[in-house]
Every structure is written in structure tokens, then in C-alpha cells.
């Protein structure tokens, strides 16, 4: 069915709009032997540096599924749209995918702002969005599946790890936007409760390129760790300049949560070697599934290409959706949602499970160290997949975080 989009059927749009499919009675996205799904990432603008690779891994997952005969016997036909690093455009394209192309589901988004822009559209048109990136939590839309980590699957355990290592004084450095600010708020509460200390908190505008003053501040604050939530180009500038200032990984530990293999490639492994990152997946993650994933990816996109956490999450999301559809025996959004609860899948990162309560995913947490070949070596992992807790309800120290209600 049309995902409850009554207007789509009731209005005379089918006759007027050239793109409306003729078979107005058909299920969402279904047309004969194929089913359409939307891929909605920034292919242009400043976010394209990150999002294009996620689009690639999602397309690869679709190819894999199609090679095995598709879902419910139908081939998946991706409809690619460009969010253009512009949030209203994400909303526009999401609406287009759902109401014009009548896709069965959408994989897309990277920044939280783009997700927030799309959310009302998905809720209104009762469509499904699979979001592949780690984010700041505090959200749980019934029409979104969160395939990336929430805070307790990345930030919180990484802080615990650092505290265990005896690193108590932290310098919080982030780009000025919601994810870093929220993450740091959580970190400060966590540190306060567990005997750590945030010695400074600095935000730089997105796209900021000169870190000499920040580095001077770091030098004078003498922290044990720089907890880095910078995003995109700023990371390149920060780490290049940190190295030039004579600060190497051995002098100062940094932990980054937005630098994955792809970013390492763009900054230069020589610069990043020895610095730490926190994710749920690395190209080196040792699972049989990952082996094939990496192999296939290199086969498809070149031997030089690397895989990373968001790419893996996007890839996994496609497979999880396909699994849910198979289980539901239908493309109907409500049925797929229902079927998705508790679905398990052996992803490249290991076993993942969809949490039926909040539509997030159980994920294993991994701390890694960047190697001089650009790969990331796992130093620690959580042992088993961590249950997602986007509102940090299970953490006592997080009680005071929200305003009360």
C-alpha cells in the first residue's frame, strides 16, 4: 500500500504528473519486477566529501541484493537524488522520492540538520528513512531507522576508555554545530560524575582552517587528551597544523569521532599515525563478512578505495531493510517496521540487531589507533553489541542533562 499516503491516490495527480506511475493501485515503489528505493545524500556542496562514499556503499549493497535475486523477487532500482549540502533540499528531495517516485524506503542523510529537515516529511508521508551516521542522540522517530551509533555507542564508552587509561584532563574541541555541542555536554556530565575534568571547550565554525590559536590554547591548557569532534575540512587543518606545531601523537593523545579511513586518506596517514578514533567499524575489523565487504568494495570502486564506518552503516542499512522486507513479505512501511523489530544480521562490523523500541541498532564499540598505512588498528572493543540508548536513560549521571521534563 501507499504507506498511508491517501492523497497520493485520491488526487488527480496521476494524470497530470508525467512521472507518476500509471499503476496507481500498486504498492509503494513497486512497478512490475522492480522496487524503487531512494538514495539521498549530498553529491554536491561541502558535504559531498563525506556523503558520496556512503552513497557508493549503499549502491553496492543494492547490487549484491539484486545479484541474489532482489527482495521478494523484485530487483531494487535506486533513485538517486542530491541533497546538495542544503537542508531544505533534503526535505524537498525526500518529499519527491516519497510522493513522486513512490519509493519503498530511503537511505540517506549525514548531518543531523539534514535528518531533522527530512524527519517531518517522512512522518507526514509515512515513509521510511535509514540514516547511516553516528549522531548526537535525543531522537527516535517512528519513521527513521538509525543505523549509525548513538552517543552511548561511541562517545560514552570512549570516554570511559580514556578514564580507564588514566587520562582525566580533556580538552573538548569541536566544530560549532549540534553534534559536537551535544556530545560535549554529555561528556562534561560524564566526566563530572566519574572524576575527569574538561579543561576547556572550544568550537570553531564549520570550514574553519586556521588552528594556530587553538593549538596554542591546547598547549597552555596541557590536557591529557584532546577530544575531537571537528568535522570535515577542519580536521585536515587541525591535524596538519598540530603536527607542524611539533605535537605528535606520542606527546598528546587525541580521540576523534568523525575521522574514519576515508578522512585519513584525505589528511594523510603520515600526519595522523598514532592518533585515536572511536567508531563501530574499521576496514580492518576482523569478520568474514567484512572481508567480502572490503573485497567487493575494492573490486567495484578501485583498489585504492577504503571502507569506513558510515559506509558500512549505509551498506548494513540496505541489507537490514531487505531482511525486514523479506520477513514482512511486503514493502508496506508499517509492516516492514513491525518486521524489523529484533532483526539480526551479520554485518561487516559483526552481529547487529535492530532495537524494536527506538529503531536504533545494537552495535559493537571500538577504539582504534590510526596506522601509518592509513588503516586503523583496533585497541579495544566493547565485547558485545551495545544496546542503543539515544536518551541515555540508563545512565545515572545523565539524569541532570535535560531540563527536567
Amino acid at each position: 500500500a501507499c504507506g498511508g499516503n491517501e492523497k497520493g491516490n485520491a488526487s488527480p495527480s496521476a494524470s497530470a504528473s508525467p512521472s507518476a506511475s500509471a499503476s496507481s493501485g500498486a504498492s509503494a515503489g513497486e512497478g512490475g519486477d522492480t522496487v524503487k528505493v531512494g538514495i539521498l545524500h549530498s553529491l554536491s556542496g561541502t558535504m559531498a566529501i563525506s556523503e558520496v562514499t556512503v552513497k557508493n556503499s549503499e549502491l553496492m549493497a543494492i547490487d549484491e541484493i539484486n545479484a541474489k535475486g532482489g527482495v521478494l523477487g523484485k530487483k531494487i532500482e535506486p533513485v538517486i537524488e542530491d541533497g546538495a549540502s542544503d537542508w531544505p533540499t533534503f526535505a524537498e528531495k525526500a518529499r519527491k522520492l516519497l510522493s513522486e517516485d513512490k519509493v519503498a524506503t530511503v537511505f540517506g542523510g549525514w548531518t543531523s540538520a539534514s535528518r531533522k529537515a527530512m524527519l517531518p516529511v517522512f512522518e507526514e508521508l509515512k515513509g521510511l528513512l535509514w540514516y547511516p551516521v553516528q549522531y548526537e542522540g535525543l531522537e527516535s522517530s517512528p519513521y527513521i531507522f538509525y543505523a549509525g551509533a548513538t552517543t552511548n555507542q561511541q562517545i560514552v564508552p570512549s570516554i570511559d576508555y580514556l578514564l580507564e587509561q588514566g587520562k582525566k584532563k580533556m580538552f573538548l574541541l569541536g566544530s560549532d554545530y549540534v553534534f559536537p555541542r551535544t556530545a560535549n555536554k554529555i561528556i562534561k556530565a560524564q566526566l563530572a560524575a566519574k572524576g575527569g575534568e574538561a579543561v576547556a571547550e572550544e568550537y570553531t565554525p564549520l570550514g574553519y582552517t586556521d588552528y594556530s590559536t587553538i593549538i596554542a590554547k591546547i598547549k597552555s591548557a596541557k590536557p591529557d587528551v584532546v577530544y575531537n569532534t571537528l568535522n570535515g575540512d577542519s580536521n585536515v587543518a587541525f591535524f596538519k597544523q598540530l603536527k607542524d606545531a611539533g605535537i605528535a601523537a606520542k606527546d598528546l593523545t587525541t580521540v576523534s569521532v568523525s575521522i574514519a579511513e576515508e578522512e585519513v586518506k584525505g589528511i594523510g596517514a603520515d600526519i595522523l599515525a598514532g592518533h585515536l578514533v572511536a567508531w563501530n567499524y574499521y576496514q580492518t575489523t576482523d569478520t568474514p563478512e567484512n572481508k567480502t565487504f572490503v573485497e567487493n568494495f575494492k573490486k567495484k570502486y578501485g583498489a585504492d578505495s577504503v571502507t569506513s564506518d558510515p559506509m558500512e552503516a549505509g551498506y548494513t542499512a540496505v541489507h537490514l531493510w531487505a531482511a525486514a522486507v523479506e520477513k514482512a513479505g511486503s514493502f508496506d512501511v508499517e509492516k516492514v517496521k513491525e518486521a524489523a523489530k529484533g532483526i539480526e544480521w551479520n554485518a561487516p562490523e559483526g552481529k547487529v540487531t535492530i532495537d524494536g523500541d527506538n529503531q536504533h541498532i545494537y552495535k559493537t564499540v571500538r577504539i582504534g589507533e590510526i596506522q601509518s598505512d592509513g588503516m586503523i588498528k583496533e585497541l579495544w572493543n566493547s565485547g558485545s553489541p551495545v544496546k542503543p540508548d539515544p536518551y541515555l536513560k540508563t545512565y545515572d549521571w545523565a539524569k541532570g542533562l535535560s531540563g527536567g521534563s
Partner: protein, 301 residues
Amino acid sequence: MEMWLTQLFNGLSVSSILLLIALGLSITFGLMKIINMAHGEFIMIGSYAAYVTQNVFKSALPKSAFDAYFPVAIVVSFAVAFAIGYLLEATLIRFLYGRPLDSLLATWGVGLVLQQVARSIFGAPNVAVTSPSWLDGGMRIMDGVVFPYKRLFIIGLVLVCLLAMYLYIYRSGPGRRMRAVMQNREMAACLGISTRRVDGMTFAIGSGIAGIAGCALSLIGAIGPTIGTNYIVDAFMVVVLGGVGKLVGTVAGALGIGMFNTLFEWWSTASLGKVFVFVLIVAFLQWRTMGLFAVKTRSLD
């Protein structure tokens, strides 16, 4: 003490980078009055030229020769940006003289196209340039005060570019012709100057210098299809604040913004520092309505 010294140096260093990104614009915009929104993309071209040069050295030459790539890259960056600038002038910009606002529209389009070209050739993600080893590390001034060689190198590079530009624009025949054409194209033509050639050269030089900036910036920043957007606003601020059409103004603008930015950022935060600097710019313009070094004219408007 060491903090002051470090910050003073940082201020100078930020200023030198601002100046580097603004120098080319001070020609294409300051002199030619082309609101060159593609300026950032010429910087990007320079960065990618450095990247390609590096790759060529890596793959075609022995390891020992690698460190020599950077001087070569500077020349290549200039040459590539120069050539593309020349081409752009010949095919598009020349229709836009005396129409600065149209030039904004068209160069915006050029910027979009160049970004897409870069994305198609080099892929969407950032690429990495390994800096030559002789630029690694820094000069120790005293305990806790290190002046990174890269920063020193950029300061030096800016000074060289500045001097060359000064000599070219104000002390050479071609520079004089260039200024004459930029002020009154028709009359310059009537006096026997080949305006087409001067226009082409001028725009190409401005673009070439943006290319050098891109090459230098590859040492300390990202290289990707959209890096131009990180620099474009700052570049315009610098040129305008100093007074459009004045090289010395551009220098002053860069120093002013760079120093204050560093100072404010030290006192407050990067974001607030930026706000302060821009508030200061707004306030400053109330006082000096045509920038620091206004071009004074007797004309009515």
C-alpha cells in the same frame, strides 16, 4: 611572554595566509572590478595542481627526488591556474567588463562548474598532499615557542609574491598599461594599447596567484572540490577592508583581520572571535567608508 610571542607569530601567520588568498583577488576584483566568485576555485585548482605534481613525483621519480616536488608544484600551480584563468578571460570574462554585477553571476556559475569538474576528476572526498620533509618541524625560538617552517615559508612566499606584484603593477610598463586599461578601457585602446592582451594577462596573473595560494595552502589545509568556499568570503573582506584597488590596502586588510582574529580568538573562542572581528569590520567601515586606503577621486560619485 612565550604566549605573547607565539600569538604574535600566529597573528602574522594568519595574516600572511589571508593575504595570500586575497592577493589574486586584489587583481581580478580590485583592479579589474570582476566580482570573481570563482576565486576560491582557482585556489582549489592550485591545490589540486600541487596534489598531481606530488603524485607524479611519487610515481615517476626516485624517492630521493620527492622533496623537490614542492617548488615545482608552486610553478605548476601558478601555470595551471594562469592558463585556466587566461582561457576563462578569453571565453567569458571579456564580455563582462563594466558589468561587475553580471560578473558575479557568471563567475558563480564558473565556480559551480569548476567544483564539479574537480569532483569528476579527483572524486568527491578530500585528497592528501604530503609536505616536503624540509618543511617539517619548526624553528625553536625559546622554550615552548616554535615557529613552524611551513608558516615561515608561507610568510616568505607571500612577501615574494607581494614584491613581485608591486614591481609588476607599479613599476613596469605592462603594469602601467594594465592600470590604464582597468581604469578606462576604451581610452586605453584609443591610445594604442592592445586591451585584449592586457585583459587576458591581468586576469590570468590574478588567477595564477590564486593558484600559488592554493599550492601553499595544501601544506596546512584540506584539498577538496569545495575548499574554495572556505576562503572566498575572507578574501573579499580583506580586499574591501583595505580599500579596493590598492595593493597596500590589501596588505593592511590582511594584517588587520589576521591580528585581530588571533587576538580575539585567544581571548574568547573561535566563533565569538569571528563575530568580534566582523563587528569590528562593520564598525570600521562606518569610520572609513571606502576602506583603509581609499582611492580618492574628484569625481562626483
